[in-house]
């Protein structure tokens, strides 16, 4: 049945007339959409054609569709990567660092947002928030410089204090030079940099919780912690789930500048992640097919995690993101 819409002159229009009037009213909005669409097509979708090079012979002088298929039905590069011990290490390190980041770094902004929310002195709250955002705007290169001045094994500030406190000139905590310590430093610096920034979205969600709920809870005799547990946290639940799903989608993705800047030759066993592998093999060693294959593998695993986490969330009665 043709539903139609009421056009301005009051008559029931035909399909094309409907379309015309619809466009007359909203056409400018579509016009505005054209530019971003063109952007996405040219810079985001068209380059995806080059994913083909993951299955083709390696040659930068020809477009991938002109090239013959790689050996083993096109899967030569995938097989090669999975036989490569360096890649195994990179895969393991990426997973370890990301899981630790998730376990320690994900709850941090939630806790911080709860703390901020409980502050009643508004001015102090605003200043604290601003100070907490600041590290987000520093690049990892700068942070790595700061980190060395603080954490270096011998002449870092913390170790200088530690030496004075223990009155032992040889005392030193190997923050940057022993693999386990390095991983801890890596995770803590990540929290320091991003936790403050991460609170923004939670604080925004908190403003949506009706004050009446707090009042009702207070009337029922709920103390501060009970109110946080029974009112604030349930109010944040949809936001937490959404962010968790998005984080799981990046479980195999890896930052490049963070591990590269913080790493040194004593800890490459734990700091060499997939993005660095791709950089060394692809850009420095011109093996573009191999690095495309690895990148594709990363993305596919990421999408699988994203979908799985999403359907899990839906099954548990949450809304999910898709």
């Amino acid at each position: 049945m043709n539903k139609g819409v009421i056009v301005p002159d009051g008559r029931r229009g035909t399909k094309s007339a409907n379309f015309k009037s619809y466009m007359r009213r909203y056409g400018t909005l579509y016009l505005l959409l054209i530019l971003p669409l063109v952007f996405f097509i040219i810079f985001r979708y068209a380059p995806m054609a080059y994913i083909l090079s993951a299955f083709k012979q390696n040659n930068i002088f020809k477009a991938p569709w002109e090239l013959p298929w790689a050996k083993n039905n096109g899967f030569e590069w995938f097989i090669k990567a999975f036989k490569d011990r360096t890649f195994h290490n990179a895969l393991r390190n990426t997973l370890t660092l990301n899981l630790l980041d998730l376990a320690c770094g994900f709850p941090a902004p939630i806790l911080l947002a709860l703390l901020l929310n409980e502050l009643s002195f508004r001015r102090f709250k605003k200043i604290t928030q601003t100070v907490l955002y600041m590290p987000h705007f520093l690049s990892w290169i700068i942070i790595s410089g700061l980190a060395l001045r603080l954490f270096a094994g011998n002449d870092g500030l913390i170790n200088i204090l530690y030496k004075r406190m223990t009155a032992n000139p040889d005392a030193s905590i190997p923050f940057m030079s022993k693999p386990n310590w390095w991983v801890a430093t890596y995770v803590v610096l990540g929290i320091w940099k991003e936790a403050g920034w991460g609170t923004i979205i939670y604080l925004a969600a908190l403003t949506n919780i009706s004050p009446e709920l707090y009042e009702a809870a207070a009337v029922d005799g709920a103390g501060r912690f009970k109110r946080i547990w029974h009112v604030t946290l349930p109010g944040l639940r949809p936001t937490i789930i959404t962010l968790l799903i998005m984080n799981l989608g990046r479980i195999l993705g890896s930052e490049f500048d963070r591990p590269l800047a913080l790493s040194n030759k004593l800890v490459t066993d734990v700091s060499h992640v997939i993005s660095i592998y791709v950089y060394q093999r692809g850009l420095q060693n011109s093996q573009f097919s191999l690095s495309t294959a690895v990148g594709l593998f990363q993305s596919v695993v990421g999408v699988i995690f994203l979908i799985a986490a999403n359907s899990l969330a839906k099954r548990m009665g949450e809304r999910g993101i898709m």
Binding site: I60, G156, P169, K265, Q280, L283, S286
Partner: protein, 482 residues
Amino acid sequence: MYTDYIKQGMLEQHNVEVEFVSIGRWTEVDDMNTALAAGDAPDVCVTYSYPTIAKYAQMGGIVNLNDIDGKPLEEYKDILPNLWNLLSPTNNIYWDQNPETGDLWAIEATLAENARINTFIRKDWLDKLGLALPTTEEEFHDCLVAFRDNAETLLGADADKMVPYSTSYDIGWRNDLLFMAYVPDDAKDEDLYIHGFDDRHLLYPNYKEGVRVLNKWYNEGLVWKDFAEYAQDSSHEDDMMKAGFVGAFQHNWDYPYRGGDDSIQANLQRSAGDDAAYIAVDCFVNDAGVHRKFLAPPIDRKVFFPATNDEPLASLLYLDFISDPETIAFLQLGKEGESYNAVEGGFEKLATTGDWLQNSLNNIDYTITVNGLYLGDATAVTTALGYAPVASDLINVANAAAKADGRIVKVFNCGDIEAEQEYGTQLPTFRDTLLNKAVVASEEEFDAVYDQGMQDYLDNGGQAIIDERTAKMADIFGYTAE
């Protein structure tokens, strides 16, 4: 000014228009990858990495210089007199010619200055402690111990900042003279070539024993403790030298003198007094009693033409023009009175700004066929005067020390080594990891750490390259190791 000179010269002499395309000084491989893939690479390209060129060639992206308009390079010799004068046919022009197919993908530029590394020590500290310049490893070690034990005398309130000997994460380069003293003097060129693909000499025989000495020094508290934690590009170590906390180190032969007023030496004098100076000493002796240094062969950067070059002849003429002694002299010196003054036996460069400022030392990035000052008989004097305000005596001592008892290992042209293209760029990471871990290990763990690291290095491509080189040496030169 310098680029105008080139453009004008090429236009007048050969009716060729020249356009310069700038790329990152330390990222040329990344930048060229992009340009080549996009098909808009310049007609003449330069890189330090031959495996990169070999890989491009394999993909069909490079002009075969022995097949320009169907003729080998030799046929163009007569129109390229300057190129043939500057470069040696065997050492540079045909160095990369494939012994089997005759393909020639690149020309090797010549290296005018083959001094590499020196050991530097604080002369004023030695004087203060009544010590002579060290002439053996043992004496050098004694100096370091004396620095450590007399930190309060030498540095006063800053005694806890004392670093008797400093190095960086680049252990292989920064301790080369120490390690090379452990390589047997009778090691054969053939074996050194097979095991010489690592430019830090990691696989030379007995290398481990040299590293063991450094490990011992480290555990004695003689070496900068945090060296491994500071990455590439960190200026922290330089800053310590400038502030006067570092007693000795090994580095590029002229390292503390580079940069004139901002050099380590000039800064050191400002912070520790006019007497303070780093002086080059030559104190590491091998089993034959020789101060052996392994110097680089006179080859350096590699010039190639991408396949998109449709006028290779014009590009060859460019190489000839840039190799003309007159062109080289102008690019390296500039104009008399503006950027240099003639002195007895050479030239003294002047501090310049604006048009006469060189964008690389001696404009080496324009003189693509020669790296280093190339002024014939005037070179030595000009070099020594080129570091003002650093005294020219220090430069002369350093230059002589860096070349004394130098050995240049013969290179055998075995054509393309496939394993090198595959693993060449990832191996330095394994090397550095191995050496850093081994140096900071305790003396008891040293062997285990070193052997494990070496195993990783070999497993990740090192062995494959050795095997391929060994096989090719047997095939082409009939050489088999004893």
